[in-house]
Symmetry: none
Subunit: 250 residues, 2 copies
């Protein structure tokens, strides 16, 4: 592996975990402890992380997508969520992915006579007090940073579910139609969601083009509808239209 990408991977791990002992870093990067130490030392010298005896601590704030206090780019997300909410008819079962955009969508679903299935603990907390909405949680390991459920149990639960629509969030969409995510563990869950609904709707604000992300979730062909804003890169939208995706710009 090229050193640079391993450095990036280490930083990503740290953003996800906050703190990691050197032994754990070595294990996760599949290198010797000596090398892990060298990497940590390099990045510490570059000021990208904080070195402590026995391990490393993230210098950049730990990724907390639901820092709740403020959602980045909120108006755009609300607009996309509103577009998505319009699609949903009474009596439907909808599958909601994790993320801030789908959380905005959940906020718009209060009082609707629908069934919401989700792996997002944030969505659960938003809707748990609402008697009208029937709420189903997928099982799985609790990921505290992301307030989500992941793992083998989540995928097993998805095999038992078939929803009318799934609303997927994303961290970035490339011009060739690839849909990305920043955290690898979420990818299998997102893929399983795609297979558990009649219609797949991707929610992506203009800033998500190209956005960020290192793991590929799926491509344009796997999506049925894309809901985005007016400012979204036209070339990418053309790619999606060619793949028979219905593009809605709110």
């Amino acid at each position: 592996m090229l050193r640079e990408t391993r450095h990036e991977k280490l930083l990503r791990l740290l953003r996800e975990e906050g703190v990691l002992p050197v032994v754990e870093i070595a294990r996760r990067l599949e290198v010797s402890e000596a090398t892990a130490r060298r990497d940590v030392s390099d990045l510490s010298g570059a000021g990208r992380l904080r070195r402590v005896y026995g391990g490393a601590i993230a210098r950049e704030p730990v990724e907390r997508p639901f820092a709740e206090e403020e959602v980045d780019d909120l108006p755009a997300k609300e607009a996309v969520a509103a577009g998505a909410a319009q699609l949903i008819r009474n009596g439907e079962t909808v599958l909601l992915d994790i993320g801030t955009t789908t959380l905005q969508l959940a906020r718009l679903l209060h009082g609707r006579k629908i069934t919401v299935v989700t792996s997002s603990l944030a969505v659960y907390e938003e809707l748990r007090a609402d008697d009208e909405v029937s709420l189903v949680l997928l099982g799985g390991e609790v990921r505290r940073n992301y307030r989500s459920l992941v793992g083998q149990l989540t995928r097993a639960a998805l095999r038992e579910i078939y929803a009318d629509r799934v609303f997927l969030g994303t961290s970035g969409v490339l011009a060739d139609g690839r849909v990305l995510d920043t955290t690898e563990v979420e990818v299998p869950v997102k893929r399983a969601m795609l297979g558990s609904a009649r219609q797949a709707v991707l929610l992506a604000t203009p800033r998500k083009f190209p956005g960020t992300g290192s793991a590929r979730v799926c491509q344009a062909e796997d999506i049925d509808m894309l809901i985005t804003g007016q400012a979204t890169d036209p070339a990418t939208l053309a790619t999606f239209r060619e793949a028979d995706v219905e593009v809605v710009q709110v």
Copy 2:
């Protein structure tokens, strides 16, 4: 554990508790008293806490987030829960049923290095802020008044799980050893739990003999251990002993 993170954890504990004796700090941090003293001394030197003879006092304001909800017969439930907590070893996976007694048990599991699998949303809320405990939620429909997950999805999740012990609550136990519950929808989940653990432990305060309940969950033979109080009806206990159940009276 890394020293820095242990320092943070100590400060968090202090914010939660206000005051803590050194012995208690050592126990909760799982280090020797000598080390706990050193940590307290470090942080006191840095002005992060106030040192007093025998312990430490938070300098930052104490968090008191939740008012404890009223639990009926609380002391008895706490005693039974304490007996159950003693059984659990580090590294174990435990399956927790819904109910107030198992919730008391969850309260005693803070800071333990274990995996807790549960269908109880109350247990999830109790443990979600605790980084030490690895938490797994079974999926299912959200039942708001019982703060639980039930249904086909919950049973499907249980088929994927095998725990070291399951801790079951109950609404009533009859003299012939039948274990009851008041709500029928929970029964299939409880039965599935019995099949998903090496050892089945029933938690039942003396008032649960005979208690209430119309639905039969299981019988004495299906249980491996019964944890109850001193005042429990001896005839019923005899039934359980005859069925090879280990009876613990706390």
